[in-house]
Symmetry: C2
Subunit: 194 residues, 2 copies
């Protein structure tokens, strides 16, 4: 419990000093934008600085590999809430180089679990409930292709309104450099580079 | 395309000045922790500061409402990768007050879509594909209950190892105050407050 105790103690000081008030913002994204990126620990402060995002500027969804597909239930719900409830007009899918989801597949985990009887029981239970590990625990081969796939998927997604812009970017977690991969606007059907 | 152009221009300056190098970190969470929180625009800089997180300290998953349940495919995959590939030993579910998912239900969106024929077609298409809008587009009544539910769900989740600690917190986006709601360790079965 040491981590929690120390975190709460530091938080008390943070609040007492009024530090939090410096970040006060509206829940409606100032820049009418949504960023979908990875959970990677190197992006916590790097990404907002590299993309020039202040507190309140954007909704940010984070999920391993910044992957979006038809099965991304939480991500798609979050996108719909952002677009229809919070005024988002532009979506940025931001993958990153050296991502743990590059080359990742279910074998990576199944191998780690093979000698653990408690987890093996869990695997069996979820398999019985219909979970398809191979389809579910899947990363990508190349981050560029993955970002393009997510952008294309969103471009075709039938619940997003005409006019919405969807960009694909890749950030380098070493120096914060951002590369532009693709941009599509919902009424356009032809992919193009910027 | 103005937002993208201006963002890429600022990014060039950022990289040229070597600003990104200040944030250099390992992809393995320094604090062996994972934070699951909301996509809310007010949390971009507020949350890392309020929880004393430096770049590289934690994996961070962001999804509307910080909701985790059996259907949270992306979130669960991200958690498994964090725990088994990136050394995470402690999970913090961090909901927030004034969350857009409090009181949210599918009617909020269905009402907005009712006069839009393009989106109505999409609703019909996804319904035909088996999407259950009522179950999918659902928030929660009270953030405390929702955080407790997510913590309990993870505590029972059969693919998480014994010994892993799961905490439930709520952050106030006005001043950054963090309230502790619940903590469970995977071998414990009794919920308790700290």
């Amino acid at each position: 419990m040491e981590r929690l105790e120390s975190m709460l103690k530091k938080n008390e000081e943070f609040v007492a000093k009024g530090e939090g008030k410096k970040f006060k913002a509206s829940k409606f994204s100032n820049k009418n934008m949504l960023v979908i990126t990875c959970m990677d620990a190197r992006l916590i402060k790097m990404l907002p600085e590299a993309l020039d995002l202040k507190n309140g500027d954007a909704n940010i969804i984070k999920t391993a590999g910044a992957l979006v597909c038809a099965k991304s239930e939480n991500v798609l719900r979050s996108i719909l809430v952002s677009v229809y409830e919070l005024g988002v007009e532009e979506i940025f899918v931001v993958g990153h180089y050296d991502c743990g989801m590059a080359g990742f597949c279910c074998d990576n985990l199944l191998e780690k679990w093979k000698d653990r009887s408690d987890i093996q029981q869990g695997v069996q239970q979820l398999s019985n409930e219909g979970v398809n590990f191979e389809r579910w625990l899947k990363g990508f081969d190349h981050v560029e292709d993955s970002v393009k796939d997510s952008v294309s998927f969103l471009h075709e997604y039938p619940l997003l309104p005409q006019g919405i812009k969807i960009h694909g970017l890749i950030i380098n977690p070493e120096d914060g450099r951002v590369d532009h991969v693709t941009s599509l606007t919902k009424e356009e059907k032809i992919e193009r580079t910027f």
